[in-house]
Symmetry: C2
Subunit: 340 residues, 2 copies
DNA sequence: TTTGTGTTTCAAAACGTTTTGAATCGGGTG
DNA sequence: CACCCGATTCAAAACGTTTTGAAACACAAA
């Protein structure tokens, strides 16, 4: 591996000058700079990141810790996010160190990575309410950025979609179509996104004096959506509309409605939230799904950029981003059926 | 952050002595060592890995590059492997840098990580025949270890199961039960494990003068297993036994047999290879599945240990491990039906 | 007292970079 | 000629560790 010293010796220059020439400092003669560049190229010089990091005091790596579920599966969305993230990080000469959390204590894995002086900061996802990881990292004064929020109006950098509005938008749409009996098939309420969706739903319903009589939480799979909807549709005074946590859950709900001999949107309306994952495309449903849409692939780049800025010393609160999901009207929603 | 120098000043010792005391060198007075340990503990000393790495010339990180399929899903098996790997690496003070390969050129992502002097070596998986990544890493003289092999009798460290034997064992079992028309529902033949399974199958069939008339490749999903088996079972002189690439594929084959009104194992026998993933448990099939079994969770630790040894200078060929899958007889195999 | 011996400690170099503060040079100005 | 100035280059320090070769010390043997 070529070093600055070798390039210097080759040209009769000091390492100082070589370093400055390569790093674009203005006080070096343009002719010298060209020669240095040439020689560096010829010798195949690559800066030794380790040495750079020792002197700058930063490691140039950020950590991310995966929480794996007991069934060893992980978030469906993880690979989508990971791909975007490594690409965005590479643009800032930064690498991603991945670890898996297998501990009971959610903070343990972060502590371990920190103690080894490996990473400059963290990317967190899937926060729970008052997340202990966040308390820990703030206490230790470690930079991090969150995909999501663990509370309203936090004081750390984050990128999140407005999950509260996701629900209120859906309820507003359905209520304006005349629906009164609206169900929520929600995701995991251990996470704030689930909690926010439920809170938004309850508030929107309350604002219109509607009773939130049908709420099912912790449904993430198609099968769970199917089962929940089937139960509800079998009752007297069944709901006429469903707000679904995901397009996958909506697929289950749709199947349940069909199995009950109900047609969409004549008898039952369905709104889902669409993370725009490649597996289940809302527009290919039959009928095409009305959705609140916030592509997950939009998240990694802002997320990474926020973190990089903060690592460079920017104020945490300058890097908060709350995006509103888009409401896209398609064929799965219609006016409430006249009389049941 | 406390440093060696600070500990030294605190105790009136040189950094040399402090360093040696903490690293367990024999030539330091036991009383001194105790004092140093105490002070280090009290000051919360953590060695600066970056500095350590600069002087030792090793980064203490290994890289792994994920190949993501066009549908953005990844290997079902990935999380299983990842968990075991980070745990095994942590035992050697080593961290995992993850990157995603989004290039047409499979070597590009490796080159990038290397040019940045980030990693000491690589863990590769899912090799193709004469894998270009392996050629590149060997040419560059970069340590690596492979999960799988890209050819027979390679000269690099690997951990692999004997995929050839997986097929021959299955065929032998079925042929000994009297089956003559044996089908193979194989996985992706772009990878060597798929190729080896097919080669083993053909060889075992040829060894018994049986015609390998039913071979389907590139089936990884339940649906694909179902479709392939349904096609075969609809033909005249349909196969009486199936060798399946995975338990997931076997589930599809089983369903196809049932849909054809065939019972298992009376009319159709099924053998599958079982990676022992938590999602599809062969023993819970009905009837319980006869399998060749090689738990994927067994792989990460030997894999990591091989790599660590090689990083420490061991000979590459001392760290090759070929394990033979276990044949487990259960209820899905039986004698060939008397007359069709 | 001197010499030898084993134990324990130390100063200094090294890793490759960035950064600080100073030196050198050529050329103009007084 | 003496001085100053801008442009360019340099030597040295620093980051925190490991490692080398030598020094210091205590104690026993000669």
């Amino acid at each position: 591996m070529a070093t600055l010293k070798q390039i210097g010796k080759e040209l009769g220059l000091s390492v100082t000058t070589v370093s400055r020439a390569l790093n674009g400092f203005p006080e070096v003669n343009e002719a010298t700079r060209v020669k240095v560049r040439e020689t560096a190229e010829r010798l195949g010089y690559r800066p030794n990141r380790i040495a750079q990091r020792l002197v700058t005091g930063r490691s140039g790596m950020v950590g991310m810790i995966l929480k794996i579920k007991p069934d060893m599966s992980a978030d469906q969305t993880f690979f989508q996010t990971l791909t975007g993230m490594t690409a965005a990080l590479a643009a800032h000469e930064t690498d991603l160190v991945l670890a898996v959390d297998q501990d009971a204590d959610p903070v343990q894995a972060y502590r371990k990575l920190l103690e080894r002086n490996i990473v400059d900061g963290f990317i967190l996802n899937a926060p729970v309410r008052d997340d202990p990881r966040i308390a820990y990292l703030k206490d230790q004064n470690i930079p991090f950025v969150l995909h999501g929020r663990d509370r309203d109006a936090p004081d750390y950098p984050f990128y999140d979609i407005d999950n509260h509005a996701v629900s209120t938008d859906a309820v507003d749409l359905l209520a304006n179509l005349g629906h009164r009996r609206i169900a929520l098939i929600n995701g995991e309420v251990q996470y704030t996104f689930g909690l926010d969706r439920e809170a938004g739903f309850r508030q929107a319903m309350a604002g219109r004096d509607l009773a939130p009589g049908w709420i099912v939480n912790d449904a993430t799979l198609e099968q769970q959506g199917y089962q929940a909807a089937l139960d509800m549709l079998s009752q007297a005074n069944a709901p006429t509309a469903f707000v679904c946590f995901s397009t996958l859950v909506a697929a289950g709900v749709m199947q349940a409605a069909r199995d009950k001999g109900l047609s969409i949107p004549k008898d039952v309306s369905i709104v889902a939230h669409d993370d725009a994952l490649p597996q289940t495309r809302a527009i290919e449903f039959n009928p095409a799904l009305t959705v609140t849409r916030a592509p997950l692939r939009d998240a990694p780049e802002p997320l990474v950029n926020h973190l990089i800025s903060v690592l460079r010393g920017a104020a945490a609160t300058d890097h908060q981003q709350l995006v509103r999901a888009e409401l896209i009207l398609r064929g799965s929603t219609g006016p409430v059926p006249s009389v049941p």
